[in-house]
């Protein structure tokens, strides 16, 4: 089982109560947990998946998913996990305006602590609810303005949850491959970086598009 080609760290952030823990549980255990309470500090889970790369081969990817506590008093713990993250999932509750308003603060945190090359995904959770307060467009635009991918999910019904993590895995593999192809040198890696942004559409489109990264170069 320990046979994997890639190991990526994925960190979930966002206000308390937006459903980060539920998203992770839904993905790693296939359940929607009831009454588990707010996360204390950080928790982490591991899932190994098989992802098809742009060349059509299947590859084993180990995702190390860090589920951080949204409550303010855990900030000094959670901040320490940004630096080593390969991907950051920023979650808000689409039925709760304040969680969306807080996004700017979260973006500031990311800028301060995360690697500037980190893959960023904005997630509007709880699509199953009928009291939506944030229209899809608004979320989409915010993501676009901050160079993030965008997706709406429901950890309750499982909508887009698999897709979220599989797309992240596929994208990270693609990045790793491009980086390996270029140079291990630090100064050059920004070239890879430019290729992966401004690509919201591929996350929005159907997941059958095997690799997100395939049309990256043409977009630049």
């Amino acid at each position: 089982m320990e046979d994997y080609k890639f190991l990526f760290k994925v960190v979930l952030i966002g206000n308390s109560g937006v459903g980060k823990t539920c998203l992770v549980r839904r993905f790693t255990q296939g359940v929607f947990p009831k009454g588990q309470g707010a996360t204390i500090g950080v928790d982490f889970m591991i899932k190994t998946l098989e992802v098809e790369n742009s060349a059509g081969q299947r590859e084993a990817v180990k995702l190390q998913i860090w589920d951080t506590a949204g409550q303010e008093r855990f900030r000094s713990i959670t901040q320490s996990y940004y630096r080593s993250a390969h991907a950051l999932i920023l979650v808000y509750d689409l039925s709760c305006q304040p969680t969306f308003d807080a996004l700017n603060d979260w973006i500031r945190e990311i800028q301060e602590y995360a690697n500037p090359k980190v893959l960023k995904i904005l997630v509007g959770n709880k699509t199953d609810r009928d009291d939506r307060e944030i229209p899809v467009r608004v979320g989409e635009e915010f993501a676009k303005a901050h160079d993030m991918y965008f997706l709406e999910t429901s950890s309750k019904q499982g909508e887009n949850v698999e897709k979220l993590f599989y797309e992240i895995a596929a994208e990270l593999i693609e990045q790793a491959r491009q980086k390996g192809g270029l140079s291990r040198n630090h100064h050059n890696s920004s070239v890879t970086n430019l290729g992966m942004k401004n690509n919201i559409s591929s996350f929005q489109s159907n997941c059958c598009s095997g690799g997100v990264g395939t049309n990256n170069n043409s977009s630049n």
């Binding site: 855990f74 320490s80 500037p116």
Partner: protein, 777 residues
Amino acid sequence: MDVSSLIGIGDAEDLETPEGIKRLCQRINEREKQVNDNLQTLLSRKLNLETKIDSCLIKYQQLYKASICEDSKKLTSIISHTSDLAEKVSAKVRNLDTARMRATEVQKRVHDLIDLQLCSQGVMTAIKDEDYEIGARHVKRYLSMDRNILEKTADDVSSMTSVNQAVDTLEKAAKEMREIVKVKLDEAIKKNDLASVERFFKIFPQLGMYDEGIAKFTSYVCTKLSSIAEKELRQSMEIAKAEKRTQVAYADTFTNLLENVLRIIETNQPILENYYRYGHLLKMVKILQLECDDQTRRLIQEFNKNRLINRKVNQINDYIKSQSTQSSSTLGHLRKASGSMDKLNSKDLDTLIAELTIMHSRAELYVKFIRRRVSNDIEKCFIAGDMTEEEKKTALDSMESVIKKSQLSNQMQEILSTYLLFERYFMEESVIKAIGFDSHETGQLYSSMVDDVFFIVRKCIRRSIGTQSVDGVCAVINNGGACIEQELINAFRNALKSGYHSGYIDLAQAYSAFQSTIQQGKIQTNDSEMARTKFTVTLNNADKSTEYIETLFQNISEEIKVSFPNIDSHKKEMIESCLGGLKSVGDSLKTVVESGMQQLRSSAIKPRINPWIDQFQSSNHMLTDDELSVYEAGETFIQFLIVQLDGLLNSFKKVLSEKNYDILVLMLATDVTARFERAIKKCAFDRNGGLVLDKEVRSLGTFLTGATSWTVRDKMARLTQIAIILNLEKISELSEYYDTRNQEGPFTAWRLTPNEIRNILKLRTDFKIEDIKKLQL
């Protein structure tokens, strides 16, 4: 079935009088004895039968072997007969069992009836005499009787009224007792009469008032705790001063506070277990926790106020904010020590961090103690059978929720948060300072910053282990990695950015150097000397850091194993992952070393060695025997080259760390051999020329091998093979060396392609082109 008929008592006895009951009891006992005797004989018969069955089975097996078919039929009937018999016997036994059970039941009911009378009489006297222990015992006895059966008994016996009367009396008495002990306990509490408090606390469970007893008693204890705590908090500073422990005054007070609570549990748990049995500790803890929460809150408030925590937190946050806006514009540039550290006083911060660490670890220990005690109590209750599996789970969950929802937990999280902020700031500022105050002593390979930076990071991580919090340790490990990467590695990168200015200047370089000297009036030998030293020292520092990272990783892993011996595998994995992140900082360091060495190669090696080697082209490689002896008598090309290379390497051997020097030698070997090969290809050779070349290549190999502990054979492979080819007597000799099937020997694999071999052969003027072309390769 009626009891009396079953046990063979024809007519109803007089159950009104104790004598009558006693008589009945006697007869029941006699009858029971009879029944028991009967049972005994039947049971012995049963044993007999079982032996028979056994022997039948043995016979059956024998028969089976002999004549199966006929005998089996017979056997079947025997067995079924036997089983019928057994069936009948066991039915009888069953009947007898029932009889015995009923007899016991009757006995119990009779006892109950007797006790009922006794209790109802006794309880009133006890109350009158204020002998509450006895009274409570009577009530307890009454409560232990099954009310329904009591009523049924009352129906069965003719003197219903007397039973009911007794029940009434006892009900009333129980009610009265309950009232009395409540009042008495309250009075004792009011009078602060500990002996009486404990006396009545013990009576409560006998009257079935478990929760109330625990609640009243624990609240009483809490008031005592509270006054002690208040006093201690008021005096904390004075006590600390007297003991010269002002730096940890609040940690001390906090420790006392928690220990006081734990002591209450320690002393009262035995009483609780004795009089209340198991499974009640959580109730006590729940109430105590509220008190503990209250005291903790007050203490932390005081701590925050007197240690100026909020102001420091704000100061640091402001500083971080100002740094982040600054650094985003000047990304990659070296941060300067802010000087705000002086405002905060790093020594102050250091002691404050230590105090926070102690506070958190004490709370962590306290919670561990509570968890262990309560879950043990629940487990004992479960084992005693007073609790179902389901109830046990609920109880344990309830314990967790008491802990999780407590103010104490909340305060611990706040403390940890403050600690982490301070620790991070302390680490970053100290590291930046250490880098800023870097000092290098002439002649040393390394400067002070690496030792200093790793000392600081190690100190901080070790201190985090002291919090006893896995989350805390993980965060500081993460921050340590970030700090090394951001501050130290960036400092290395900056130092290497300007490159290595080789002291050797060729004409073009000399010209431009001359120009810039004129323009800026500054480049002096001293300056460039210093710049070169800075470059090599940085390379060595980076090399040493890769070792230090590995050591740090190993030491911390070890220490965590010792300090957290019982953590679950999940938390362990978490820590390991964070440690892995720290270790991977080593990769960034290796990249730094690598790129620095490449710079050294392109500026200090390549330009120097090229002209030396190119001299090879200017000498003659077609030699008569006389010319050969003359050449070998004088200074040969290779002697010259080795002297030069030796001089070059020696100048670096003094200034590079062992590993870096080895890397340099390998780089040099790569470049020298490549250039040499290039030079050879530009020359023409005859037999003697080849002979000389072969010797010279061998000398070069020996020299390079001696220069490093790493192997250079690989680097020499192509050159060696070229020399072999050029040193051939005849072309046909090549087959002795060139044999693709022969994988043994010094030339396991040819590094030269057949085409290259042919081209090299062509350098020998005495070899014929046609022969070369004819070669089978």
